[in-house]
Point group: C2
Chain length 138, copies 2
């Protein structure tokens, strides 16, 4: 358990009780988590606290934000050594139209795209949608 505290401190996030719980929650799930998910899981806690915890995690590089096209912001723990801000580290995400879950495919990087003259790319987001392995029955 002290593990988590250290991880948070390394990223200069004060390891409060709530933050440790949320970190643990994120760690057990392999899918991208929305604020509403966390709200449901921690029904007793304040929405704002959860909200700000996620924002803090995001700012400090504990999680990365995922836009999976549902219009709902989701988050997932950064892998050790993840540099989500660097273009090379941009992995793609898969959103299942059946179970509505989104997963990081961290080994699949976004291919480089040759843009027309004048366009400067700084960031990219690629989401594939379809049926995930769980739902395709494999």
């Amino acid at each position: 358990m002290k593990e988590i505290e250290k991880t948070l401190e390394n990223k200069s996030v004060r390891p409060t009780a709530m933050r440790i719980l949320i970190y643990k929650y994120l760690a057990e799930k392999e899918v991208a988590i929305s604020l509403t998910d966390i709200e449901t899981a921690f029904a007793k806690a304040e929405r704002t606290t959860l909200y700000r915890t996620l924002k803090t995690f995001e700012d400090k590089g504990v999680v990365h934000q995922i836009d999976d096209g549902t219009g709902i912001q989701k988050y997932a723990l950064c892998e050790p050594g993840c540099n989500c801000d660097l273009e090379q580290d941009l992995h793609l995400h898969f959103h299942c139209n059946n179970c509505d879950e989104t997963v990081c495919l961290t080994e699949h990087k976004i291919p480089h795209i040759n843009l027309p003259e004048g366009y400067i790319a700084e960031d990219a987001n690629l989401v594939l949608k379809g049926i995930c392995e769980k739902c395709s029955g494999q």
Copy 2:
């Protein structure tokens, strides 16, 4: 002007005055348009009408919806011969972090991705973010 009416009728959308106006508006802009944009441009019209017009256009394949990661739904006219529902026709979109506009790069298709075992892709969305040609000063 009868052009537009025919286009709409071809897609089995009744060419009402409002719809023709909105179509014209979309046609002059080369960028993706949000409901709010249209609301501003047609301040006198009812929000719901504009909203439902866009939905109708989308249903009937007059426009395609664009998720550019801003969290705001945008729309752009389908090119003649556009099959936005087919995977092969998925082009990418570019969102400018400076002027906040989003454009279709219709010639740039989304590259094919090899997914892990069990994943079935049905749809894809690729958005590049950065500085567009207008803003990069070219």
